[in-house]
Each structure stands twice: as C-alpha cells, then as structure tokens.
Symmetry: C2
Subunit: 144 residues, 2 copies
DNA sequence: ATCAAATACTTGACTGAGTCCAGAATCAAG
DNA sequence: CTTGATTCTGGACTCAGTCAAGTATTTGAT
C-alpha cells in the first residue's frame, strides 16, 4: 500500500500540515477503521510504526480535524470517534447496544441540512443528526 | 412553593419511584434550571436540603431518566445535561462558544421524526437532532 | 403505630477519556 | 547543515462518572 501512504502525504501537505510518519499512519488507520476511537487508532498506528504516545495521537487527531482532513463524532456514552469522510455532511446510525456505527447519507448534503423553525437568534451552521436504534446483530441476539 | 414540591412527590409516586427529599429537590432543580449539568443540579439541591452526595445525584438522575421523568442530553464536548420536558422529542440548539442551550420544537413531532433513507437493517427508535451555532450574545461579542 | 424488607444515601476509592506541561526530538527551508 | 518552528515524549493532572460496602430511610404488611 505504498501508493496510499503517498496519497496521504500529499493530502497533508496540501492542507499545510507537516508530514510525519505518525500522521500518515493515523490517516491510514482512520481510512481502514472508520468510526474508530482514539485508543483503537493508537493501537493501529503502533502496529505499523512501533510506538506512539497517546499525546501524539490526540494532538494529531486535533490538527487533522482542524484542517478538515478528518471528522470527529462524539456520540453520547462513547468516546470520540473519527472518520475520513469529510465535507458531505452525512449522518450516523448508532446501535444503542453495541455502539456499531454506520453512515447515512444526507438527502440534502449541504451544511445545515435542516432548518430549525425557530432559530432563537442563533447563527446556525450545522444540523447534526444521530439515528439511534439496534443493529441487525443485536436484534437477532435479543430474541433467539 | 409548597405546592410544586407536592406535585413532584405525586409524579414520582405515579411512576413507582420512591419519594425522597433528594429526589423532590432534584426534580425541582431541573424544572428551575433546564439543561443544567449534574454538578449544577447538585449545588441547587444542596442549597435547598443542605447536603447531598454526588453519588445520590447521579443515582437519582439515572432513575428519573429511566422512568421517563427526565431527559438526559449529552452534547459533544459537554457533560450530560438534564431537562424536565419529556415525551415530545424536541431538539436542541447549542452555542459552539458558550454552550448555551435552547429547545427547538420538532417540525414533525412524531418520535422518529426523520426517516433515514437507508436503515442498514437497524431498528431505529429515535432521530436526535442538534443544531450547532452561535448564540446572540456570542455573536455580538465577536464583532464589537 | 411498628417492624422487617426493600430501597436509597454516604463515603471514599477508582476508572476512562482527555488535557497540560516542559524538555527532547524531528522537520522543512534557507 | 543549521536554524527556528513544529511535533513527540512522559508524567502528572482534571473532569465526569462509576463501583462497592456499610448506614440510613422509606414503604407496606402487620
């Protein structure tokens, strides 16, 4: 997967983010494990480049999110999760039991995809939608 | 406010929740401070009945949420907040800068008020919507 | 009204997720 | 290859919340 690694390097440079082994490995880890937590990603990165501090992982995730290369989602009752699919304002469908998360396309796509019927004077820039339910696995496990 | 206190007692009993001074005080605190955090509520309760352990606050909030007397909301980057308005699946509008939270009526009203266009086999029971933006105060503070 | 059983509360230690800090290492331009 | 900026490391720390064991309160049956 040499090619993919290069691609990430270019992506980073484009956004003015310094290119380091950790960051490239992180980008790759996110691409391979969408909706993973910082811990899981740290493990993935360690599997590839040996050792990374937790701090470096948080720092890099922070930078990458800031520069719009990653998106952070923070569902209730779960640590933050990260995904590489940015810029299309899609939503998420999360299993109440096991936390399994899948993407759901937004019919609108553009950034506040829903209009509040009373904005209370706020300047709204995003409508975040989370669908809660039970995934197929948990449903069948529930009534055997 | 003797009357309100009685009302809360009756409410609790109706839902099969044991009536204690702490719980009544908690219900009242939530009614008076919608969208408050557990800490703020604990302080409110202490101001009324002297002393409460943090644990009691968390326990009671948990029970009250379970029995449908309160609703817990967990916005990204903030501790959990509680409100007494339950059963109508309204949404929230939160200030990115100061966290100020206001209720927004759900345009549709019914419980999963938005239908995902692909449910991935999930059994969806709720569509949670959070509008993110800047409140009037933070807007005017930003460009003086 | 009383008493036992069920339920709730207190205290204090503990966990998980994330942040802060200061010094060491690494990077990208000149 | 040097330099100044950026990033990484390790360790201490914070914040929000949970666990566990013992004590107190509420409740429902007498």
């Amino acid at each position: 997967m040499r090619h993919a690694a290069d691609t990430f390097g270019i992506l980073l440079r484009e956004r003015g983010v310094q290119v380091t082994a950790q960051r490239v490995a992180l980008m790759r880890a996110v691409a391979e494990h969408p909706h993973a937590t910082a811990d899981i990603l740290a493990d993935q990165v360690r599997a590839v480049i040996g050792t990374v501090s937790r701090q470096a992982v948080y720092d890099s995730l922070g930078v990458l999110v800031d520069r719009g290369l990653l998106r952070r989602i923070q569902p209730a009752g779960s640590p933050a999760r990260y995904e590489g699919r940015v810029g299309d304002n899609h939503h998420h469908l999360i299993c109440r039991e096991c936390g399994a998360t899948v993407d759901v396309d937004c019919a609108v796509g553009a950034m506040p995809c829903l209009i509040a019927n009373d904005d209370h004077g706020y300047e709204i820039d995003e409508a975040e939608v989370v669908y809660w339910g039970r995934c197929p696995a948990c449903r069948s496990a529930a009534h055997p």
